[in-house]
């Protein structure tokens, strides 16, 4: 009986921890983005999974790593 309760508690804690980890990971990823502003005042935001971000992220990462090295 006691063993069953312990197992249930472990499963519950594990589920909550897993959900929290997933939520934090998704929330963190959504903060990564590219914002491009044009001279006419327009602005475009590219999400991390967009084609433009895939092209621009590596350049940004190189700048960041070179600046901090």
């Amino acid at each position: 009986m006691a063993r069953g309760r312990v197992a249930a508690a472990v499963v519950a804690v594990g589920s909550v921890a897993g959900a929290a980890a997933l939520w934090f990971r998704r929330a963190g990823k959504s903060k990564e983005r590219v914002e491009v502003y044009y001279a006419d005042g327009s602005m475009v935001t590219f999400a991390p999974d967009s084609e433009e971000a895939a092209r621009l992220f590596p350049i940004g990462r190189r700048i960041l790593s070179q600046a901090r090295s």
């Binding site: 963190g28 990564e32 590219v34 914002e35 491009v36 044009y38 621009l56 350049i59 700048i63 901090r68």
Partner: protein, 138 residues
């Protein structure tokens, strides 16, 4: 010298900016906070490449921010050059852009105009007007 002063002012004013480089449109470094000239040149060239790669239907962008979890990269350009900066996580983008644009403007200003601007700023920070100096008239 003007570019170096503008960049020094930028880093002093904006606590969010970790490092920055000021360059002309070709990527020639005018001033940087990096001690290493080679590193400054590499960052400037990457920043120019970033602007070119970000060119879209609206033409070449005037400013770009790439936000990562570990920090952000900002690049701003005007007719005379570019300034690229690196900040920590979640910077106040509007303020950083404003400071970078001010830096570019000051770097491009003639010394006389800069002195005039400095004089104007000094007057606005006074709490009350000082009496006018007597020029010996009358």
């Amino acid at each position: 010298m003007e570019a170096a002063q503008a960049l020094a002012d930028l880093v002093e004013i904006s606590s969010q900016i970790e490092s920055a480089v000021l360059a002309d449109g070709e990527g020639t470094v005018l001033a940087s906070t990096f001690g290493d000239e080679e590193k400054a040149s590499a960052v400037a060239k990457e920043a120019i490449g970033l602007l070119k790669d970000a060119t879209g239907p609206g033409g070449e962008p005037s400013q770009v921010q790439i936000a990562f979890l570990e920090g952000s990269v900002f690049v701003v350009r005007d007719d005379e050059g570019i300034v690229a900066a690196v900040t920590g996580r979640e910077p106040t983008s509007g303020l950083v852009f404003y400071d970078l644009k001010t830096c570019l403007r000051l770097a491009g200003e003639q010394p006389e105009r800069k002195k005039a601007a400095a004089g104007t700023k000094r007057r606005t920070t006074k709490k009350k007007d000082e009496p006018e100096a007597d020029d010996g008239e009358g």
